[in-house]
Symmetry: C2
Amino acid sequence: MTIKRVAIVGLGLLGGSLGLALKEYCPDIVTTGYDSDPETRRRAAERGLAGTICESASGAVAEADLVVMCVPVGAMGAVATEIADALPRQAIVSDVGSSKASIHAAISAALPEHIVIPAHPVAGTEQSGPDAGFASLFQHRWCILTPPDDVPEEAVAALRTLWEALGAEVEIMSAEHHDLVLAVTSHLPHLIAYTIVGTASDLEDVTRGEVIKYSAGGFRDFTRIAASDPTMWRDVFLSNKDAVLEMLQVFSEDLTRLQRAIRRDDGDALFELFSKTRAIRRGIIEMGQDDARPDFGRSDHEG
Amino acid sequence: MTIKRVAIVGLGLLGGSLGLALKEYCPDIVTTGYDSDPETRRRAAERGLAGTICESASGAVAEADLVVMCVPVGAMGAVATEIADALPRQAIVSDVGSSKASIHAAISAALPEHIVIPAHPVAGTEQSGPDAGFASLFQHRWCILTPPDDVPEEAVAALRTLWEALGAEVEIMSAEHHDLVLAVTSHLPHLIAYTIVGTASDLEDVTRGEVIKYSAGGFRDFTRIAASDPTMWRDVFLSNKDAVLEMLQVFSEDLTRLQRAIRRDDGDALFELFSKTRAIRRGIIEMGQDDARPDFGRSDHEG
Protein backbone atom coordinates (compact mmCIF):
# COMPACT_ATOMS: atom_id res chain seq x y z
CA MET A 1 0.00 0.00 0.00
CA THR A 2 1.59 3.25 -1.14
CA ILE A 3 0.19 6.71 -0.65
CA LYS A 4 0.27 8.68 -3.90
CA ARG A 5 -2.45 11.28 -3.49
CA VAL A 6 -2.95 13.23 -0.27
CA ALA A 7 -5.87 15.55 0.45
CA ILE A 8 -5.40 18.15 3.17
CA VAL A 9 -8.54 19.64 4.67
CA GLY A 10 -7.77 22.78 6.68
CA LEU A 11 -4.82 24.94 5.55
CA GLY A 12 -3.64 26.67 8.74
CA LEU A 13 -0.28 26.17 10.47
CA LEU A 14 -0.42 22.37 10.49
CA GLY A 15 -2.21 21.77 7.18
CA GLY A 16 -0.04 24.33 5.42
CA SER A 17 3.15 22.88 6.87
CA LEU A 18 2.05 19.39 5.82
CA GLY A 19 1.49 20.58 2.25
CA LEU A 20 4.85 22.36 2.11
CA ALA A 21 6.65 19.40 3.68
CA LEU A 22 5.11 16.98 1.15
CA LYS A 23 6.19 19.25 -1.71
CA GLU A 24 9.71 19.46 -0.28
CA TYR A 25 10.34 15.90 0.83
CA CYS A 26 7.88 13.81 -1.24
CA PRO A 27 7.69 15.65 -4.57
CA ASP A 28 6.08 12.64 -6.31
CA ILE A 29 3.00 12.78 -4.12
CA VAL A 30 0.07 14.72 -5.58
CA THR A 31 -1.59 17.03 -3.08
CA THR A 32 -4.99 18.71 -3.01
CA GLY A 33 -6.14 21.14 -0.36
CA TYR A 34 -9.26 22.80 0.91
CA ASP A 35 -10.13 25.32 3.61
CA SER A 36 -13.61 26.56 4.46
CA ASP A 37 -12.34 30.18 4.54
CA PRO A 38 -12.09 31.72 1.02
CA GLU A 39 -9.31 34.11 2.09
CA THR A 40 -7.28 31.18 3.44
CA ARG A 41 -7.79 29.32 0.12
CA ARG A 42 -6.54 32.38 -1.73
CA ARG A 43 -3.37 32.64 0.40
CA ALA A 44 -2.89 28.87 0.22
CA ALA A 45 -2.91 29.06 -3.56
CA GLU A 46 -0.41 31.94 -3.53
CA ARG A 47 1.95 30.11 -1.18
CA GLY A 48 1.45 26.75 -2.92
CA LEU A 49 0.39 24.97 0.26
CA ALA A 50 -1.07 22.19 -1.94
CA GLY A 51 -0.71 21.33 -5.62
CA THR A 52 -4.37 22.11 -6.23
CA ILE A 53 -6.56 24.22 -3.97
CA CYS A 54 -10.14 23.01 -4.38
CA GLU A 55 -13.41 24.86 -3.86
CA SER A 56 -14.97 22.12 -1.72
CA ALA A 57 -13.84 19.46 0.73
CA SER A 58 -15.52 16.85 -1.47
CA GLY A 59 -13.59 18.05 -4.48
CA ALA A 60 -10.30 17.86 -2.58
CA VAL A 61 -10.79 14.28 -1.37
CA ALA A 62 -12.37 12.78 -4.50
CA GLU A 63 -9.24 10.94 -5.66
CA ALA A 64 -7.27 10.71 -2.41
CA ASP A 65 -5.43 7.69 -0.98
CA LEU A 66 -5.11 9.60 2.27
CA VAL A 67 -7.10 12.46 3.76
CA VAL A 68 -5.49 14.43 6.57
CA MET A 69 -7.92 16.61 8.47
CA CYS A 70 -6.12 19.67 9.85
CA VAL A 71 -9.08 21.49 11.36
CA PRO A 72 -9.84 22.30 15.01
CA VAL A 73 -10.68 19.18 17.03
CA GLY A 74 -14.33 20.19 17.40
CA ALA A 75 -14.80 20.40 13.61
CA MET A 76 -13.47 16.91 12.77
CA GLY A 77 -16.86 15.19 12.88
CA ALA A 78 -18.51 17.77 10.63
CA VAL A 79 -15.68 17.59 8.07
CA ALA A 80 -15.85 13.79 8.06
CA THR A 81 -19.59 13.99 7.38
CA GLU A 82 -19.01 16.55 4.63
CA ILE A 83 -16.56 14.31 2.73
CA ALA A 84 -18.32 10.98 3.38
CA ASP A 85 -19.97 10.66 -0.03
CA ALA A 86 -17.01 11.81 -2.11
CA LEU A 87 -14.25 9.88 -0.35
CA PRO A 88 -12.95 6.75 -2.15
CA ARG A 89 -13.79 3.59 -0.19
CA GLN A 90 -10.14 2.51 0.21
CA ALA A 91 -8.79 5.89 1.34
CA ILE A 92 -7.11 6.17 4.73
CA VAL A 93 -8.52 8.89 6.97
CA SER A 94 -6.20 10.65 9.38
CA ASP A 95 -5.81 13.98 11.16
CA VAL A 96 -3.34 16.09 13.15
CA GLY A 97 -5.50 16.91 16.18
CA SER A 98 -4.15 17.31 19.71
CA SER A 99 -6.56 14.87 21.36
CA LYS A 100 -7.22 11.44 19.96
CA ALA A 101 -10.00 9.37 21.58
CA SER A 102 -12.80 11.85 20.93
CA ILE A 103 -11.58 12.61 17.41
CA HIS A 104 -11.51 8.91 16.58
CA ALA A 105 -15.05 8.52 17.85
CA ALA A 106 -16.28 11.52 15.83
CA ILE A 107 -14.60 10.49 12.57
CA SER A 108 -15.56 6.82 12.85
CA ALA A 109 -19.17 7.72 13.47
CA ALA A 110 -19.25 9.70 10.23
CA LEU A 111 -17.10 7.27 8.19
CA PRO A 112 -17.86 3.81 9.62
CA GLU A 113 -16.61 1.94 6.52
CA HIS A 114 -13.22 3.65 6.23
CA ILE A 115 -9.81 2.96 7.71
CA VAL A 116 -9.31 5.65 10.33
CA ILE A 117 -5.83 6.18 11.84
CA PRO A 118 -5.71 9.22 14.11
CA ALA A 119 -2.33 10.97 14.23
CA HIS A 120 -0.75 13.77 16.22
CA PRO A 121 2.50 15.38 15.12
CA VAL A 122 3.81 16.98 18.33
CA ALA A 123 4.99 20.14 16.62
CA GLY A 124 3.80 23.68 16.18
CA THR A 125 4.41 27.30 16.95
CA GLU A 126 2.18 29.92 18.56
CA GLN A 127 1.23 31.24 15.14
CA SER A 128 -1.73 30.16 13.05
CA GLY A 129 -3.28 30.64 9.63
CA PRO A 130 -2.12 30.01 6.05
CA ASP A 131 1.00 32.17 6.42
CA ALA A 132 2.31 30.34 9.47
CA GLY A 133 3.33 26.99 7.98
CA PHE A 134 6.81 25.89 6.90
CA ALA A 135 8.21 22.68 5.42
CA SER A 136 10.59 21.76 8.24
CA LEU A 137 8.02 21.93 11.05
CA PHE A 138 8.02 18.15 11.56
CA GLN A 139 11.78 17.57 11.39
CA HIS A 140 13.05 15.74 14.50
CA ARG A 141 9.60 15.95 16.09
CA TRP A 142 7.51 13.00 17.23
CA CYS A 143 4.37 11.97 15.40
CA ILE A 144 2.08 9.75 17.46
CA LEU A 145 -0.27 7.35 15.65
CA THR A 146 -3.17 5.83 17.58
CA PRO A 147 -4.51 3.11 15.26
CA PRO A 148 -7.46 1.09 16.59
CA ASP A 149 -6.80 -2.68 16.84
CA ASP A 150 -8.82 -3.59 13.74
CA VAL A 151 -6.87 -1.40 11.30
CA PRO A 152 -4.76 -3.27 8.69
CA GLU A 153 -1.07 -3.23 9.49
CA GLU A 154 -0.10 -2.14 6.00
CA ALA A 155 -2.22 0.99 6.29
CA VAL A 156 -0.43 1.92 9.52
CA ALA A 157 2.92 1.17 7.85
CA ALA A 158 2.05 3.41 4.88
CA LEU A 159 1.13 6.32 7.15
CA ARG A 160 4.26 5.79 9.23
CA THR A 161 6.43 5.84 6.11
CA LEU A 162 4.86 9.10 5.01
CA TRP A 163 5.46 10.88 8.33
CA GLU A 164 9.01 9.56 8.49
CA ALA A 165 9.63 10.96 5.03
CA LEU A 166 8.64 14.38 6.38
CA GLY A 167 11.30 14.10 9.07
CA ALA A 168 9.17 12.94 12.00
CA GLU A 169 9.85 10.02 14.31
CA VAL A 170 6.75 7.86 14.61
CA GLU A 171 5.48 6.34 17.84
CA ILE A 172 2.39 4.16 18.25
CA MET A 173 0.17 4.07 21.34
CA SER A 174 -3.48 3.86 22.33
CA ALA A 175 -5.66 6.94 21.96
CA GLU A 176 -6.37 6.89 25.69
CA HIS A 177 -2.71 6.84 26.66
CA HIS A 178 -1.96 9.59 24.15
CA ASP A 179 -4.62 11.77 25.71
CA LEU A 180 -3.14 11.31 29.17
CA VAL A 181 0.45 11.97 28.06
CA LEU A 182 -0.48 15.07 26.06
CA ALA A 183 -2.65 16.35 28.89
CA VAL A 184 0.61 16.70 30.85
CA THR A 185 3.07 17.76 28.19
CA SER A 186 0.84 20.10 26.23
CA HIS A 187 -2.71 20.72 27.42
CA LEU A 188 -1.96 21.53 31.06
CA PRO A 189 0.93 23.88 30.11
CA HIS A 190 -1.38 25.75 27.74
CA LEU A 191 -4.13 25.98 30.33
CA ILE A 192 -1.73 27.32 32.94
CA ALA A 193 -0.21 29.80 30.51
CA TYR A 194 -3.61 31.12 29.44
CA THR A 195 -4.59 31.47 33.10
CA ILE A 196 -1.52 33.34 34.27
CA VAL A 197 -1.60 35.73 31.32
CA GLY A 198 -5.26 36.37 32.07
CA THR A 199 -4.48 36.89 35.76
CA ALA A 200 -1.71 39.37 34.98
CA SER A 201 -3.82 41.44 32.61
CA ASP A 202 -6.61 42.06 35.11
CA LEU A 203 -4.80 43.16 38.26
CA GLU A 204 -5.77 46.15 40.34
CA ASP A 205 -2.38 47.25 41.64
CA VAL A 206 -0.20 46.48 38.62
CA THR A 207 -1.03 47.95 35.23
CA ARG A 208 -1.03 46.02 31.97
CA GLY A 209 1.72 48.35 30.74
CA GLU A 210 3.94 47.35 33.64
CA VAL A 211 3.28 43.67 33.03
CA ILE A 212 4.37 44.09 29.41
CA LYS A 213 7.36 46.23 30.32
CA TYR A 214 8.86 43.87 32.87
CA SER A 215 7.86 40.62 31.16
CA ALA A 216 11.44 39.49 30.54
CA GLY A 217 11.59 38.18 34.11
CA GLY A 218 9.81 34.99 33.03
CA PHE A 219 6.29 36.06 32.13
CA ARG A 220 7.00 36.57 28.42
CA ASP A 221 7.57 32.83 27.91
CA PHE A 222 3.99 32.18 29.02
CA THR A 223 2.60 34.82 26.68
CA ARG A 224 4.04 32.98 23.70
CA ILE A 225 2.05 29.85 24.54
CA ALA A 226 -1.00 31.93 25.45
CA ALA A 227 -0.92 33.49 21.97
CA SER A 228 -1.89 30.15 20.40
CA ASP A 229 -5.06 29.77 18.35
CA PRO A 230 -8.12 30.22 20.63
CA THR A 231 -10.51 28.01 18.64
CA MET A 232 -8.05 25.15 18.48
CA TRP A 233 -7.38 25.25 22.19
CA ARG A 234 -11.01 25.67 23.25
CA ASP A 235 -11.69 22.45 21.36
CA VAL A 236 -8.69 20.62 22.82
CA PHE A 237 -9.79 21.26 26.40
CA LEU A 238 -13.38 20.26 25.73
CA SER A 239 -12.39 17.13 23.81
CA ASN A 240 -9.83 15.91 26.34
CA LYS A 241 -11.77 17.07 29.37
CA ASP A 242 -11.28 14.11 31.70
CA ALA A 243 -7.52 13.82 31.34
CA VAL A 244 -7.06 17.60 31.53
CA LEU A 245 -9.15 17.88 34.70
CA GLU A 246 -7.27 14.96 36.24
CA MET A 247 -3.89 16.57 35.59
CA LEU A 248 -5.15 19.95 36.75
CA GLN A 249 -6.18 18.35 40.03
CA VAL A 250 -2.68 16.95 40.63
CA PHE A 251 -1.12 20.29 39.68
CA SER A 252 -3.38 22.20 42.07
CA GLU A 253 -2.43 19.91 44.94
CA ASP A 254 1.27 20.41 44.19
CA LEU A 255 0.77 24.17 44.01
CA THR A 256 -0.99 24.19 47.38
CA ARG A 257 1.95 22.31 48.87
CA LEU A 258 4.39 24.88 47.52
CA GLN A 259 2.22 27.72 48.76
CA ARG A 260 2.31 26.19 52.23
CA ALA A 261 6.12 25.88 52.07
CA ILE A 262 6.43 29.59 51.27
CA ARG A 263 3.98 30.56 53.99
CA ARG A 264 5.95 28.51 56.56
CA ASP A 265 9.38 29.75 55.35
CA ASP A 266 10.31 26.16 54.54
CA GLY A 267 13.36 26.91 52.37
CA ASP A 268 14.50 23.28 52.33
CA ALA A 269 11.29 22.09 50.68
CA LEU A 270 11.58 24.82 48.04
CA PHE A 271 15.24 24.09 47.37
CA GLU A 272 14.55 20.35 47.02
CA LEU A 273 11.84 20.87 44.39
CA PHE A 274 13.82 23.52 42.50
CA SER A 275 16.83 21.20 42.29
CA LYS A 276 14.79 18.23 41.07
CA THR A 277 13.24 20.06 38.16
CA ARG A 278 16.63 20.73 36.54
CA ALA A 279 17.02 17.03 35.68
CA ILE A 280 14.00 17.10 33.36
CA ARG A 281 15.44 20.03 31.43
CA ARG A 282 18.69 18.14 30.98
CA GLY A 283 16.76 15.14 29.63
CA ILE A 284 14.94 17.32 27.10
CA ILE A 285 18.16 18.90 25.87
CA GLU A 286 19.92 15.52 25.65
CA MET A 287 17.03 14.10 23.64
CA GLY A 288 17.24 16.98 21.18
CA GLN A 289 13.73 18.18 22.03
CA ASP A 290 14.79 21.76 22.71
CA ASP A 291 17.43 24.31 21.89
CA ALA A 292 20.31 24.04 24.37
CA ARG A 293 21.31 27.69 24.01
CA PRO A 294 20.43 29.79 27.08
CA ASP A 295 17.14 31.65 26.80
CA PHE A 296 16.27 29.51 23.71
CA GLY A 297 18.97 31.46 21.89
CA ARG A 298 16.93 34.67 22.13
CA SER A 299 19.85 36.56 23.69
CA ASP A 300 22.03 35.75 20.67
CA HIS A 301 19.44 37.41 18.52
CA GLU A 302 18.92 40.42 20.74
CA GLY A 303 22.56 40.98 21.63
CA MET B 1 29.44 62.36 41.32
CA THR B 2 31.08 59.94 38.88
CA ILE B 3 31.59 56.25 39.39
CA LYS B 4 35.16 55.26 38.59
CA ARG B 5 35.71 52.08 40.59
CA VAL B 6 33.12 49.31 40.80
CA ALA B 7 33.35 46.29 43.11
CA ILE B 8 31.25 43.26 42.20
CA VAL B 9 30.55 40.77 44.96
CA GLY B 10 29.25 37.48 43.58
CA LEU B 11 30.44 36.40 40.12
CA GLY B 12 27.62 34.24 38.77
CA LEU B 13 25.40 35.01 35.76
CA LEU B 14 24.54 38.56 36.86
CA GLY B 15 27.82 39.55 38.49
CA GLY B 16 29.82 38.08 35.63
CA SER B 17 27.67 39.81 33.02
CA LEU B 18 28.02 43.10 34.90
CA GLY B 19 31.81 42.76 34.88
CA LEU B 20 31.92 41.88 31.18
CA ALA B 21 29.49 44.68 30.31
CA LEU B 22 31.57 47.25 32.21
CA LYS B 23 34.70 46.09 30.40
CA GLU B 24 32.91 46.32 27.04
CA TYR B 25 30.93 49.54 27.42
CA CYS B 26 32.78 51.48 30.16
CA PRO B 27 36.45 50.55 29.63
CA ASP B 28 37.64 53.43 31.83
CA ILE B 29 35.96 52.06 34.93
CA VAL B 30 38.20 49.96 37.16
CA THR B 31 36.54 46.77 38.36
CA THR B 32 37.30 44.42 41.22
CA GLY B 33 35.45 41.19 41.90
CA TYR B 34 35.01 38.61 44.62
CA ASP B 35 33.11 35.35 45.00
CA SER B 36 33.03 33.18 48.11
CA ASP B 37 33.61 30.06 45.98
CA PRO B 38 37.33 29.57 45.11
CA GLU B 39 36.49 27.67 41.91
CA THR B 40 34.25 30.54 40.77
CA ARG B 41 37.07 33.01 41.49
CA ARG B 42 39.42 30.88 39.39
CA ARG B 43 37.02 30.82 36.42
CA ALA B 44 36.25 34.51 36.88
CA ALA B 45 39.95 35.30 36.58
CA GLU B 46 40.24 33.14 33.44
CA ARG B 47 37.26 34.81 31.80
CA GLY B 48 38.23 38.29 33.01
CA LEU B 49 34.89 38.92 34.71
CA ALA B 50 36.55 41.76 36.64
CA GLY B 51 39.86 43.59 36.24
CA THR B 52 41.12 42.19 39.53
CA ILE B 53 39.71 39.13 41.29
CA CYS B 54 40.27 39.56 45.01
CA GLU B 55 40.63 36.95 47.76
CA SER B 56 38.16 38.63 50.10
CA ALA B 57 35.03 40.76 49.85
CA SER B 58 36.75 43.40 51.97
CA GLY B 59 39.68 43.48 49.57
CA ALA B 60 37.38 43.90 46.60
CA VAL B 61 35.44 46.85 48.05
CA ALA B 62 38.31 48.70 49.74
CA GLU B 63 38.61 51.42 47.08
CA ALA B 64 35.17 51.25 45.47
CA ASP B 65 32.86 54.15 44.54
CA LEU B 66 30.12 51.60 43.99
CA VAL B 67 29.60 48.09 45.30
CA VAL B 68 27.13 45.87 43.46
CA MET B 69 26.11 42.78 45.39
CA CYS B 70 25.26 39.97 42.99
CA VAL B 71 24.60 37.20 45.49
CA PRO B 72 21.37 35.33 46.28
CA VAL B 73 18.81 37.55 48.00
CA GLY B 74 19.16 35.68 51.29
CA ALA B 75 22.91 36.35 51.44
CA MET B 76 22.75 40.15 50.97
CA GLY B 77 22.69 40.98 54.68
CA ALA B 78 25.67 38.76 55.47
CA VAL B 79 27.74 40.22 52.61
CA ALA B 80 26.89 43.76 53.73
CA THR B 81 28.08 42.92 57.24
CA GLU B 82 31.26 41.34 55.84
CA ILE B 83 32.24 44.48 53.91
CA ALA B 84 31.09 47.05 56.49
CA ASP B 85 34.50 47.84 57.92
CA ALA B 86 36.41 47.97 54.63
CA LEU B 87 33.89 49.95 52.57
CA PRO B 88 34.74 53.65 51.97
CA ARG B 89 32.22 55.91 53.69
CA GLN B 90 31.13 57.67 50.47
CA ALA B 91 30.63 54.49 48.39
CA ILE B 92 27.21 53.76 46.95
CA VAL B 93 25.87 50.30 47.79
CA SER B 94 23.65 48.55 45.27
CA ASP B 95 22.63 45.05 44.20
CA VAL B 96 20.87 43.12 41.43
CA GLY B 97 18.42 41.08 43.51
CA SER B 98 14.93 40.12 42.36
CA SER B 99 13.10 41.46 45.42
CA LYS B 100 13.75 44.89 46.82
CA ALA B 101 12.06 45.79 50.13
CA SER B 102 13.62 42.99 52.17
CA ILE B 103 17.03 43.47 50.56
CA HIS B 104 16.98 47.14 51.36
CA ALA B 105 16.14 46.40 54.96
CA ALA B 106 18.93 43.82 55.26
CA ILE B 107 21.61 45.99 53.66
CA SER B 108 20.63 49.17 55.51
CA ALA B 109 20.71 47.35 58.84
CA ALA B 110 24.31 46.29 58.18
CA LEU B 111 25.41 49.58 56.56
CA PRO B 112 23.35 52.29 58.28
CA GLU B 113 25.74 55.13 57.30
CA HIS B 114 25.97 54.36 53.58
CA ILE B 115 23.95 55.40 50.56
CA VAL B 116 21.99 52.31 49.61
CA ILE B 117 20.18 52.21 46.22
CA PRO B 118 18.68 48.81 45.50
CA ALA B 119 18.54 47.88 41.80
CA HIS B 120 17.06 45.11 39.72
CA PRO B 121 18.07 44.60 36.10
CA VAL B 122 15.18 42.58 34.66
CA ALA B 123 17.40 40.31 32.61
CA GLY B 124 18.79 36.82 32.84
CA THR B 125 18.81 33.34 31.40
CA GLU B 126 18.16 29.97 33.02
CA GLN B 127 21.90 29.38 33.37
CA SER B 128 24.03 30.27 36.35
CA GLY B 129 27.64 30.36 37.50
CA PRO B 130 30.79 32.13 36.27
CA ASP B 131 30.52 30.69 32.75
CA ALA B 132 26.99 31.94 32.15
CA GLY B 133 27.52 35.70 31.90
CA PHE B 134 27.88 37.79 28.75
CA ALA B 135 28.37 41.51 28.10
CA SER B 136 25.13 42.17 26.22
CA LEU B 137 22.78 40.72 28.86
CA PHE B 138 21.43 44.14 29.85
CA GLN B 139 20.97 45.58 26.34
CA HIS B 140 17.39 46.78 25.79
CA ARG B 141 16.35 45.41 29.18
CA TRP B 142 14.85 47.43 32.02
CA CYS B 143 16.78 48.15 35.18
CA ILE B 144 14.58 49.20 38.08
CA LEU B 145 16.07 51.39 40.84
CA THR B 146 14.23 51.68 44.14
CA PRO B 147 16.02 54.54 45.97
CA PRO B 148 14.65 55.44 49.41
CA ASP B 149 13.45 59.06 49.73
CA ASP B 150 16.48 60.24 51.69
CA VAL B 151 19.09 59.23 49.09
CA PRO B 152 20.90 62.15 47.33
CA GLU B 153 19.66 62.72 43.80
CA GLU B 154 23.16 62.83 42.36
CA ALA B 155 23.86 59.30 43.63
CA VAL B 156 20.73 58.02 41.89
CA ALA B 157 21.74 59.89 38.75
CA ALA B 158 25.23 58.35 38.82
CA LEU B 159 23.84 54.84 39.14
CA ARG B 160 21.30 55.51 36.40
CA THR B 161 24.04 56.74 34.06
CA LEU B 162 26.05 53.60 34.69
CA TRP B 163 23.18 51.21 33.89
CA GLU B 164 22.27 53.21 30.82
CA ALA B 165 25.86 52.94 29.63
CA LEU B 166 25.47 49.13 29.83
CA GLY B 167 22.46 49.30 27.51
CA ALA B 168 19.67 49.17 30.06
CA GLU B 169 16.68 51.50 30.31
CA VAL B 170 16.29 52.75 33.86
CA GLU B 171 13.00 53.09 35.69
CA ILE B 172 12.48 54.33 39.25
CA MET B 173 9.78 53.13 41.62
CA SER B 174 9.24 52.26 45.28
CA ALA B 175 10.59 48.96 46.58
CA GLU B 176 7.06 47.91 47.54
CA HIS B 177 5.64 48.52 44.09
CA HIS B 178 8.61 46.75 42.50
CA ASP B 179 7.95 43.70 44.63
CA LEU B 180 4.32 43.58 43.55
CA VAL B 181 5.09 44.05 39.83
CA LEU B 182 7.83 41.44 39.83
CA ALA B 183 5.68 39.02 41.79
CA VAL B 184 3.46 38.92 38.69
CA THR B 185 5.95 39.18 35.87
CA SER B 186 8.67 36.96 37.29
CA HIS B 187 8.10 35.28 40.64
CA LEU B 188 4.68 33.76 39.96
CA PRO B 189 5.77 32.46 36.51
CA HIS B 190 8.78 30.77 38.10
CA LEU B 191 6.67 29.28 40.88
CA ILE B 192 4.16 27.90 38.39
CA ALA B 193 6.90 26.53 36.14
CA TYR B 194 8.66 24.78 39.01
CA THR B 195 5.33 23.31 40.12
CA ILE B 196 4.24 21.95 36.75
CA VAL B 197 7.65 20.42 36.04
CA GLY B 198 7.51 18.78 39.46
CA THR B 199 3.98 17.55 38.81
CA ALA B 200 4.95 16.04 35.48
CA SER B 201 7.97 14.22 36.84
CA ASP B 202 6.06 12.36 39.52
CA LEU B 203 3.02 10.95 37.72
CA GLU B 204 1.81 7.40 38.04
CA ASP B 205 0.40 6.81 34.57
CA VAL B 206 2.85 8.79 32.46
CA THR B 207 6.57 8.07 32.67
CA ARG B 208 9.26 10.70 32.94
CA GLY B 209 10.64 9.44 29.62
CA GLU B 210 7.33 10.17 27.92
CA VAL B 211 7.17 13.63 29.45
CA ILE B 212 10.62 14.39 28.04
CA LYS B 213 9.85 12.84 24.67
CA TYR B 214 6.67 14.76 23.99
CA SER B 215 7.72 18.01 25.66
CA ALA B 216 7.60 20.04 22.44
CA GLY B 217 3.82 20.43 22.87
CA GLY B 218 4.37 23.29 25.32
CA PHE B 219 5.94 21.69 28.39
CA ARG B 220 9.54 22.32 27.34
CA ASP B 221 9.11 26.10 27.69
CA PHE B 222 8.34 25.62 31.38
CA THR B 223 11.39 23.39 31.91
CA ARG B 224 13.66 26.21 30.78
CA ILE B 225 12.37 28.48 33.53
CA ALA B 226 12.36 25.62 36.04
CA ALA B 227 16.07 25.04 35.34
CA SER B 228 16.94 28.36 37.01
CA ASP B 229 19.23 28.51 40.02
CA PRO B 230 17.53 26.82 43.04
CA THR B 231 19.25 28.88 45.75
CA MET B 232 18.44 32.15 44.07
CA TRP B 233 14.79 31.27 43.66
CA ARG B 234 14.33 29.82 47.12
CA ASP B 235 15.52 33.16 48.49
CA VAL B 236 13.29 35.18 46.14
CA PHE B 237 10.12 33.42 47.28
CA LEU B 238 11.01 33.72 50.94
CA SER B 239 12.01 37.38 50.65
CA ASN B 240 8.96 38.46 48.64
CA LYS B 241 6.55 36.16 50.45
CA ASP B 242 3.55 38.47 50.87
CA ALA B 243 3.36 39.67 47.28
CA VAL B 244 3.97 36.17 45.90
CA LEU B 245 1.25 34.65 48.07
CA GLU B 246 -1.15 37.43 47.09
CA MET B 247 -0.58 36.84 43.36
CA LEU B 248 -0.78 33.09 43.84
CA GLN B 249 -4.17 33.54 45.44
CA VAL B 250 -5.52 35.50 42.46
CA PHE B 251 -4.04 32.95 40.05
CA SER B 252 -5.63 30.04 41.93
CA GLU B 253 -9.04 31.69 41.76
CA ASP B 254 -8.66 32.24 38.02
CA LEU B 255 -7.57 28.64 37.54
CA THR B 256 -10.59 27.38 39.45
CA ARG B 257 -12.84 29.44 37.20
CA LEU B 258 -11.25 27.92 34.10
CA GLN B 259 -11.53 24.43 35.58
CA ARG B 260 -15.24 25.03 36.09
CA ALA B 261 -15.64 26.22 32.49
CA ILE B 262 -14.06 23.01 31.20
CA ARG B 263 -16.16 20.85 33.50
CA ARG B 264 -19.34 22.58 32.29
CA ASP B 265 -18.33 22.51 28.60
CA ASP B 266 -18.47 26.30 28.56
CA GLY B 267 -16.62 26.83 25.27
CA ASP B 268 -17.54 30.52 25.08
CA ALA B 269 -15.80 31.31 28.37
CA LEU B 270 -12.68 29.47 27.23
CA PHE B 271 -12.66 31.18 23.83
CA GLU B 272 -13.07 34.60 25.40
CA LEU B 273 -10.08 34.17 27.73
CA PHE B 274 -7.91 32.61 25.02
CA SER B 275 -8.60 35.53 22.68
CA LYS B 276 -7.87 38.17 25.31
CA THR B 277 -4.43 36.81 26.15
CA ARG B 278 -3.14 37.38 22.60
CA ALA B 279 -3.20 41.15 23.10
CA ILE B 280 -0.57 40.99 25.84
CA ARG B 281 1.78 39.04 23.59
CA ARG B 282 1.38 41.67 20.88
CA GLY B 283 2.24 44.39 23.42
CA ILE B 284 5.41 42.57 24.46
CA ILE B 285 6.56 42.12 20.87
CA GLU B 286 5.77 45.75 20.00
CA MET B 287 7.74 46.94 23.01
CA GLY B 288 10.75 44.88 21.93
CA GLN B 289 10.64 42.75 25.08
CA ASP B 290 10.66 39.44 23.20
CA ASP B 291 11.71 37.86 19.94
CA ALA B 292 8.90 38.16 17.38
CA ARG B 293 9.95 35.05 15.49
CA PRO B 294 7.58 32.10 16.00
CA ASP B 295 8.71 29.66 18.70
CA PHE B 296 11.30 32.25 19.87
CA GLY B 297 13.16 31.48 16.64
CA ARG B 298 13.91 27.95 17.81
CA SER B 299 12.48 26.46 14.62
CA ASP B 300 14.95 28.46 12.51
CA HIS B 301 17.71 26.87 14.49
CA GLU B 302 16.33 23.34 14.37
CA GLY B 303 15.12 23.46 10.78
